[in-house]
C-alpha cells in the first residue's frame, strides 16, 4: 500500500465504509486500508510502507544485571579476591571459563553465541557505564535511565520519545510512517512515552490475533505461549479449546465486523482522554499492522530463537523490521537479573538468564543477516551489582555496568571505556564498580551517529553531548 486515504475520502472513492481489524480470541475482524484519522498526532501524514531507514533496538535488562559476570574483568586480580564463590574463571583450557575478548575482559561462557559477533567486529562493549545518580532503587534508577535525566523525577517523557521528535523531520519527502516506534512489552516503557506516537503491543502474535490471522491459517494453529510462570500448568486443554474456537469463529465474519464497527464508533481520538485516544490508536495500529502482516516473515539463515521471553520479543522485532513498516525504534526488555542470593557462576540462575539473553541477541542478528547493516542493538541496565559477593552467594545493588552495542555498522571487537579498577579504594563508596562513562554519553553517541537527530541537545536535558568525545562506537 503506497498511499493511504483519509476515511471519508476512502468511503467516497470506494463506497466501502471502513471496518476495523481487532485482534484475537473470538473477535478477528478485517481492515480495509485505514488512514490514521483517529490518531490526532499523525493527522495529515501519509504513511509509507517502504521505509528502509536505520533502526535502533533497545534491550533493557531490568533488575540490574551483574555486569562483572556478564563481561568478566579476568585480568583484574581484585575480581577474584572479592568473589570467592561466584567468580568466573579466567580463560584457559576447558569449558566453564570466561571467553577471552581482549586479554583483560572476557565474556561469560553462557554468552558464547555472541563471541563470533565480537570476533567479526560487529559487537562492541562499553564497561563501567552508569548513572551519576547514587540511587540503588530499581524503580528510580530505571526511571532515570529511561527519561535520561538522572536525579530528576519530574521529566514527563522518555529519551527515545525525544529522539523520535528529532528524527521526524528527517524523513524523506516529509511523509511519516504510521508506526515509527514500537515496544514488544506489555506496557509502554517510560523511555518511549511522550508526545510522539508509539505503541506497546506486548506479544506481537497475540496482538495480531494469532489463530485467526490470515497469515496464520496457512500454517495452522501455533502453540500458545506457555509462560514458565503459568499457574494453570499444562495448556493441552486450552489448545483444544483454541482449535475448536477457531473453527467456530472463522464462520462468523458478519458478527465480528458488526462489533468492529461498534467499537470504532465509540472510540474517537481525544487527546485529553487517555482511554479514548489509546483505544483509537489501538484499533488503528492493529489495522495497519494486519495489513503489513509481519508474522508471515520466516526466521532466516538458520537462526534459532529461544521461544520465550526476549527470544520471542526479538523474533517479533525482526519480523517487524522485515515488514518494512517504517519502524525506527524498537524496545524490548528482559527481567530476572536481581540475583541477591545464590547467583551462581558458570551455572545457576544468572548463567541461565545470560544463556537466554545471548541466544536471543545472536539469533536476532543472524536472522536479519544483511539487514543488520541498518540496525543497532543497544543493551542497558539500571545499575550494576556489588563487587564483593554477599552473605548469600549473591550480589546486592551496585553502580556501574556494561552495555553492548551490536550491529553491522558497529566498530566492534573492542571493549570501550576506562577501567577504574576493583580494589576497595577504587570502588564507588568502597563497594561498587565506579563509573567512568555516563550512560547518556553511550546512548547519545549511538543515537546521534546511527539515527542522526536534527538536534542532539534535546535528547538529555541538562547534559550536553560532545561529538569530539565520542568513542567511535559506530562507523560514520
Amino acid at each position: 500500500m503506497a498511499k493511504k486515504y483519509c476515511c471519508d475520502e476512502y468511503t467516497r472513492l470506494t463506497g466501502v465504509s471502513r471496518r476495523v481489524f481487532v485482534r484475537t480470541g473470538g473477535l478477528a475482524m478485517v481492515s480495509f486500508g485505514l488512514a490514521p484519522c483517529f490518531m490526532g498526532r499523525a493527522l495529515g501524514a501519509t504513511a509509507s510502507l517502504q521505509g528502509r531507514g536505520k533502526i535502533l533496538v533497545c534491550v533493557f535488562q531490568r533488575g540490574a544485571v551483574d555486569g562483572l559476570s556478564m563481561v568478566v574483568p579476568h585480568g583484574d586480580r581484585e575480581y577474584y579476591k572479592a568473589r570467592q564463590n561466584i567468580a568466573i574463571e579466567a580463560p584457559g583450557r576447558g569449558d566453564n571459563r570466561a571467553i577471552d575478548l581482549d586479554g583483560f575482559f572476557g565474556l561469560h561462557p553462557s554468552l558464547a553465541p555472541l563471541q563470533p559477533w565480537y570476533e567479526e567486529g560487529h559487537l562492541a562493549i562499553v564497561h563501567a557505564v552508569g548513572s551519576p545518580d547514587a540511587t540503588r532503587s530499581h524503580f528510580d534508577a530505571q526511571d532515570y535511565m529511561e527519561t535520561g535525566t538522572p536525579g530528576v523525577k519530574s521529566t514527563p517523557d522518555g529519551w527515545l520519545n525525544r529522539l523520535l521528535a528529532e528524527t521526524a523531520e528527517a524523513e524523506l519527502g516529509g511523509s511519516q510512517a504510521l508506526i515509527r516506534a514500537l515496544a514488544v512489552t506489555q506496557q509502554e516503557p517510560l523511555a518511549l512515552s511522550g508526545p510522539q506516537a508509539s505503541l506497546a503491543v506486548g506479544d506481537l502474535q497475540q496482538f495480531l490475533g494469532g489463530e485467526g490471522a490470515p497469515s496464520q491459517r496457512a500454517r495452522g494453529t501455533d502453540r500458545q505461549m506457555n509462560a514458565a510462570t503459568d499457574m494453570a500448568g499444562s495448556d493441552m486443554a486450552n489448545e483444544r479449546q483454541v482449535e475448536q474456537a477457531r473453527r467456530r469463529t472463522s464462520g462468523n465474519q458478519r458478527q465480528r465486523e458488526m462489533l468492529a464497527s461498534g467499537f470504532e464508533a465509540l472510540y474517537g481520538a481525544d487527546e485529553r482522554d487517555i482511554v479514548l485516544s489509546t483505544g483509537a490508536e489501538a484499533l488503528d495500529a492493529v489495522a495497519f499492522l494486519k495489513t503489513a502482516d509481519p508474522l508471515r516473515y520466516q526466521v532466516a539463515n538458520g537462526a534459532e530463537y529461544p521461544n520465550v521471553g526476549l527470544g520471542r520479543q526479538l523474533r517479533h522485532v525482526a519480523q517487524l523490521i522485515k515488514a518494512d513498516i517504517g519502524l525506527e525504534i524498537a524496545f524490548a526488555d528482559i527481567e530476572g537479573w536481581d540475583t541477591h542470593r545464590q547467583q551462581g557462576s558458570t551455572q545457576g540462575p544468572l548463567a541461565n538468564r545470560l544463556t537466554e539473553f545471548g541466544q536471543a541477541l545472536a539469533a536476532f542478528a543472524r536472522d536479519l543477516g544483511e539487514r543488520m547493516e541498518d540496525v543497532v542493538v543497544l543493551t542497558m541496565s539500571e545499575f550494576g551489582r556489588t563487587v564483593e559477593e554477599n552473605g548469600s552467594r549473591g550480589t546486592d545493588h551496585g553502580h556501574a555496568n556494561a552495555c553492548m552495542v551490536l550491529g553491522g555498522q558497529v566498530n566492534g571487537g573492542t571493549v570501550y571505556g576506562d577501567w577504574p579498577g576493583l580494589s576497595r579504594e577504587q570502588r564507588y563508596q568502597g563497594r561498587d564498580l565506579a563509573i567512568t562513562t555516563d550512560f547518556r554519553d553511550v546512548f547519545g553517541e549511538v543515537a546521534d551517529t546511527h539515527l542522526s537527530p536534527a538536534n542532539r541537545d534535546t535528547l538529555f536535558p541538562g547534559h550536553v553531548l560532545e561529538p569530539s568525545n565520542y568513542k567511535g562506537l559506530i562507523k560514520t
Binding site: S137, A200, M231, Q241, R246, M258, S261, S392
Partner: protein, 556 residues
C-alpha cells in the same frame, strides 16, 4: 456537595469501595445512601457472608496451616528432602508434585475471585486487594505454598485494624522472609551474635522424642548419632552475611517511601537489626506461623537507624523496635495516606486530603479503619469532583464486568485466569512494588483490546443466545455447570436471556444494567445508531460486548 442518593454517586461509591455495582448491592446502597453504605462497609464484622463461605468450604487448602500446606503440597525440590535418602524423583513424579504444589495458590486465587465478585463485605475485599499489593509477594516456585497463609494471616485480618500489626505479621511471615531474602540474612563474620542456637541444649532430648513414634520405641544409637550430626551440620550452615533486600523494600515500598529520607546506611543498619529473622520449613519441625528467631544469627551490636540508637546486646527487640519506628514515622503516614488517596480518589491525589489523612494515621497510631474512613467520608470522596477520574485496573475491570452481568462464579478459578490476558494475574506482580495504580499503566494498546475480548467472553456467558462469541478464553467456566446457587430468586432463562423488546429498549436496559451510573447521551446515540445500521438487530450478548469494551466502562 453530597448528593447521597443520585445514581452517579452511588455508582461512584460502588466502583470504588466495591468491585463495581451489582444489582443487590445497588438496592442496598440506594436505601442507605452513599455515606450510609460507606459507614456500613467500614464495619465488616457486622456483615455475614453465608453464601460465599459455603462456596469456599469446597476449597480445603484455604483452612490449612503452613505446616500442612508445606508438607501436603511441597515444591518438588523440598519433596525430595521429605523422602528417604535413597529415593529419587523421576520425571513423572516430579511433574505430579509440580502440579500438586500449585493447588494451594490456585485455590487461593479462586477464593479471591469468589470473594471479590460475591462477598457482601466488598470494602474488605477491595482493601485485601490493596494491602496485598502494597505488601506484594510474587508466586515464585519456592513460595507458592506460603502465600495462602500469608494472605489469610498477615494481610486479611488487619486491613481495617492496626498498620503496625500488619507490618509485623508481614515481617514475620515466611512468604515475605523468603521473597525478599531475609531468611538468609545473618550477622557478618566479625559481629557479636545474640546467643547460641535455640535448640543447642535440648537437641539430644528432642531428637530422641521425635524419633520415637517412627522407630516404635527408643531410637537406636546409630539414629541418634545421625541426628546429632545433622544438627551440627545445621549450625555450621549459618549464612555468613547480611542480605539487604528486605530492609530496603521495607523502607522504600512498605513504610517511608522512596523519598522518605532514609540513607543507604539506614538500609544496612535495618538489615542488621533484622538478622536472625528466619523460618523453619523443614519437614519435621514446624510451629504455627513458620517464623523462628535465630539468636545465633542475630547481630547484637549497637545500631543507629534514622538517627536513633539501638543499644547492643538485644535480640528480637531490635527488629521489633525498627518496625515500631517505621510504623510511627510521619513519612510513613504520608506515604500510606498518598497511596490510599490514589486508590480511592485520583491518580494525583489532592494534597490537602493527603495531609488530613496522614494526620489521622499519626494521631490514631496507624489505625487503618480510622484512616480509611478519613478518605472515604471526605468531601472529595463523597462529592462529585472525582467521578470517573480513575481507570479500572484489570482486576477491577474483570470483577466489575462479572458483577454487572450477575455472573455466578465457580471455585474452579476460571474467571481469574482472564487476568493474565488483561495483564495482571493474581499474585503475579513480579516486583515487590506490586501492580501500579495509575491510568497510564493500564492503557496500552494491548490492554484496551484485551478488555474488548474478555468483555465478549463474559457477555456470551451472561446472554447465551447461541451466538458463537466465545473465542479462546475461559469466561467464568460456569456454563453448563450446576452448583453454586447463591441467588435463588434469579432464574437464568434457558436461551438468550436478558432484556426483551425493541432494539432501543434492550440497549437502554443493558446500559442501565452495566453502567447504572448513567452514560453520556452521545454514547447512547452511537450505540443505537450502530444497532440500527446493522442488517439484523444485534443480540444482547453483542450489545453487552460493546458496552463492556466501551471507554466509559473502563473508568470508575
Amino acid at each position: 456537595m453530597r448528593q447521597a442518593n443520585d445514581a452517579g454517586t452511588i455508582a461512584h461509591v460502588l466502583n470504588r469501595i466495591a468491585f463495581g455495582p451489582r444489582r443487590s448491592d445497588w438496592e442496598l446502597a440506594d436505601e442507605l445512601g452513599a455515606e450510609g453504605y460507606v459507614r456500613w462497609q467500614l464495619e465488616p464484622e457486622s456483615i455475614t457472608d453465608r453464601s460465599v463461605n459455603t462456596k469456599l468450604d469446597r476449597l480445603p487448602t484455604l483452612k490449612m496451616d503452613i505446616g500442612e500446606l508445606y508438607r501436603g503440597y511441597p515444591p518438588a525440590q523440598a519433596a525430595e528432602r521429605l523422602m528417604r535418602e535413597d529415593e529419587e524423583l523421576d520425571e513423572e513424579a516430579r511433574r505430579r508434585l509440580e502440579r500438586q504444589s500449585r493447588i494451594p495458590l490456585q485455590e487461593l486465587a479462586a477464593a479471591r475471585m469468589v470473594r471479590a465478585v460475591e462477598s457482601e463485605k466488598q470494602l474488605n475485599e477491595v482493601l485485601v486487594d490493596f494491602w496485598f499489593n502494597h505488601f506484594n509477594v510474587f508466586y515464585r516456585n519456592r513460595i507458592r505454598s506460603l502465600i495462602s497463609t500469608y494472605e489469610r494471616e498477615a494481610i486479611r485480618p488487619h486491613v481495617l485494624g492496626s498498620f503496625r500489626h500488619m507490618l509485623g505479621a508481614v515481617a514475620h511471615s515466611p512468604a515475605m522472609l523468603v521473597y525478599l531474602d531475609n531468611w538468609q540474612s545473618a550477622a557478618e563474620e566479625d559481629r557479636k551474635v545474640f546467643g547460641p542456637s535455640p535448640r543447642a541444649r535440648n537437641d539430644a532430648v528432642e531428637d530422641a522424642i521425635r524419633a520415637m513414634p517412627r522407630a516404635g520405641g527408643m531410637p537406636n544409637p546409630r539414629q541418634m548419632q545421625q541426628m546429632q550430626r545433622q544438627r551440627r551440620q545445621q549450625r555450621r550452615n549459618r549464612p555468613p552475611g547480611l542480605n539487604e533486600n528486605y530492609a530496603r523494600e521495607l523502607m522504600e515500598l512498605h513504610t517511608l517511601g522512596v523519598d522518605g529520607g532514609y540513607t543507604q546506611n539506614d538500609v544496612r543498619e535495618v538489615a542488621r537489626a533484622l538478622t536472625g529473622w528466619t523460618l523453619t520449613l523443614g519437614a519435621r519441625n514446624f510451629d504455627n506461623t513458620g517464623f523462628v528467631f535465630r539468636p545465633d544469627w542475630h547481630d547484637a551490636e549497637e545500631k543507629t537507624i534514622l538517627g536513633k540508637m539501638l543499644p547492643a546486646g538485644r535480640g528480637l527487640e531490635d527488629g521489633e523496635d525498627v518496625l515500631d519506628m517505621l510504623a510511627a514515622h510521619p513519612e510513613t503516614a504520608t506515604f500510606i495516606a498518598t497511596k490510599l488517596c490514589r486508590k480511592f480518589i485520583a491518580d494525583r491525589p489532592p494534597g490537602d486530603l493527603v495531609d488530613t489523612v496522614a494526620g489521622v494515621f499519626l494521631r490514631t497510631r496507624g489505625n487503618l479503619r480510622a484512616t480509611t474512613a478519613a478518605v472515604l467520608l471526605s468531601d472529595e470522596f463523597l462529592g462529585t469532583e472525582y467521578h470517573g477520574s480513575k481507570v479500572k485496573s484489570p482486576m477491577e475491570f474483570l470483577t466489575s464486568a462479572a458483577r454487572s452481568l450477575d455472573l455466578p462464579i465457580n471455585t474452579n478459578g476460571q474467571l481469574g485466569r482472564n487476568l493474565r490476558q488483561l495483564g495482571a494475574p493474581l499474585y503475579g506482580a513480579a516486583s515487590a512494588a506490586g501492580y501500579p495504580d495509575i491510568a497510564a499503566e493500564w492503557t496500552s494498546a494491548n490492554a484496551i483490546l484485551a478488555r474488548m475480548d474478555v468483555g465478549a467472553l463474559l457477555a456470551a456467558e451472561a446472554f447465551p443466545d447461541g451466538s458463537v462469541l466465545s473465542g479462546t478464553g475461559r469466561g467464568t467456566g460456569s456454563r453448563g455447570r450446576t452448583g453454586g446457587q447463591q441467588r435463588p430468586r434469579r432464574r437464568r432463562p434457558r436461551t438468550g436471556g436478558g432484556p426483551v423488546g425493541t432494539l432501543e429498549v434492550r440497549i437502554d436496559a443493558l446500559l442501565a444494567q452495566i453502567l447504572p451510573g448513567g452514560v453520556g447521551g452521545e454514547t447512547r446515540e452511537k450505540i443505537i445508531d450502530w444497532g440500527d445500521s446493522q442488517d439484523s438487530a444485534p443480540s444482547n450478548a453483542e450489545i453487552a460486548t460493546l458496552i463492556l469494551g466501551s471507554p466509559e466502562f473502563q473508568r470508575r
